[in-house]
């Protein structure tokens, strides 16, 4: 549950209060980054995070995202191959 949006951290605005500026498609808002800050805050700039009620709750793992997409694409291609094979088979059998 709970609406979460990917946003990119573009600046640290108040290190004392752990506040940073997040950018979601060009819309900016200050968010708290306490949950995703491990090292120096500046290192967060450029990273994407999942934003929920004004907090960056989790850093987005870009590799994992790529992997998931890759898996989906593979599945799609496999399906296409299967479909083509089915079509080919149908053609061979003289069906439309």
């Amino acid at each position: 549950m709970c609406l979460g949006i990917p946003g990119q951290i573009v600046a640290i605005t108040d290190a004392g209060r752990m506040m940073a500026l997040a950018d979601v498609s060009g819309v900016k808002r200050e968010v708290n980054v306490a949950c995703v800050a491990e090292g120096p805050l500046e290192a967060l700039v450029g990273h994407w995070a999942l934003i929920h009620v004004g907090f960056a709750m989790s850093l987005i793992d870009e590799d994992e995202a790529a992997r998931t997409l890759e898996a989906l694409r593979d599945l799609g291609e496999a399906q296409e191959t299967l479909a083509q094979m089915a079509e080919g088979a149908a053609a061979l059998e003289g069906r439309a």
């Binding site: 609406l3 949006i5 060009g26 819309v27 900016k28 808002r29 929920h52």
Partner: protein, 340 residues
């Protein structure tokens, strides 16, 4: 320069000299209404043509903040009423402008609003011919409210109404959706959002004139205001007794507007506009209508978004980008920012 105050006081609404000074210096000096009476006296040859009809409409404008990226309350007050006249097929002629002003309002702000209104009226080809000011105590209104009424003329033989839309008609909008609503949401301090979005506020009288000339068979048009595209389409579907199908992939939306909606859990189909309309034209005239829109800056982003259909009468459906379909209902209350 009898008016030396920086802010409006209750004295400026009391019916005496202070009021007269405020009205003369801030309002009538700029609007230059005809005559000195508390009514405009007007003539227009087109009104006397046999079969011509008079169009009459009104709206109150209460936007917060009063000034925002892309406009101010004065711009909306002129454009909104011009648009209500124009989408009904009328040529906008004259506006009235009534101001309710909170005690303490800066007179410089009033001057800016009035200047905007004069400029927009001039550009839209209408005249602000009569008006009123009231001053209310601090806390009795929110800065400045403006109510405009508009009079226009519908030429003989022109008949446009939501009820005339027929299955097969093509739905066209004149540009990206929701910019105004998104701007207001972002500009209000309480959500602490910032963006570069600007209000789409624009007068659409000239654009409508172009469309009506290019597509004489035009059935209906609606300006998209509160309730956004979704509400306008639902009204049309219900009035026409047909269904409407729109295509999610065809909807012109700015990335920032989509982003803002994702953050707040809103649906851009319901966001307000102040310079957008949807029009239904017979399929044969769709290309011409589209071209006429695109010929004007306020229609540069025009595109076809869907069409009227014989199915599901009174209902608006959207083919989603994902390949599904869903009902686009009227908004129930107002859209509330949500987190879940």
């Amino acid at each position: 320069m009898a008016l030396r105050d920086e802010r409006v006081t209750l004295a400026h609404g009391g019916g005496g000299k202070a009021m007269r000074d405020l009205i003369e210096e801030v309002f009538t000096a700029v609007f230059q209404p005809p005559g000195m009476e508390d009514q405009a006296r007007l003539t227009e040859a087109a009104l006397a043509e046999p079969g011509a009809r008079l169009a009459f409409t009104t709206d109150s404008y209460v936007v917060t903040p009063i000034e925002f990226p892309g406009g101010d309350i004065g711009k909306i007050a002129v454009c909104g009423t011009v648009n209500d006249l124009a989408v009904g097929g009328a040529r906008p002629l004259w506006l009235s402008a009534a101001f309710i002003i909170e005690e303490g309002t800066e007179i410089a702000l009033l001057r800016r609003i009035v200047a905007t209104m004069a400029r927009e009226a001039e550009a839209a080809g209408v005249r602000i011919v009569t008006g009123d000011t009231k001053v209310v105590g601090r806390g009795a209104c929110d800065g400045v409210f403006v109510t405009t009424a508009g009079v226009g003329v519908i030429p003989p033989g022109r008949e446009m109404a939501a009820g005339l839309v027929q299955p097969g008609d093509v739905a066209i909008v004149n540009g990206v959706l929701g910019d105004h609503g998104a701007t207001i949401l972002a500009t209000r301090g309480d959500l602490a959002l910032s963006s570069d979005i600007e209000s789409d506020c624009a007068a659409l009288g000239h654009l409508m004139a172009g469309v009506m000339a290019a597509a004489p068979g035009i059935r209906a048009a609606r300006d998209l205001t509160r309730g956004g595209l979704a509400s306008a389409l639902n009204e049309i579907a219900q009035a026409a007794g047909c269904g409407i199908v729109i295509d999610e992939t065809a909807l012109p939306l700015r990335a920032e507007v989509v982003g803002l909606c994702e953050i707040l859990g809103l649906d851009p189909l319901y966001l307000a506009n102040e310079g957008r309309l949807v029009t239904f034209v017979p399929e044969a005239e769709a290309a011409a209508a589209l071209a006429a829109m695109r010929a004007r800056p306020e229609g540069a982003g025009a595109c076809v978004i869907g069409r009227a259909v014989a199915d599901h009468a009174g209902q608006v459906r959207m083919r989603t980008a994902f390949g599904g379909a869903r009902i686009v209902d009227m908004l129930v209350g107002e859209q509330l920012p949500r987190i879940c």
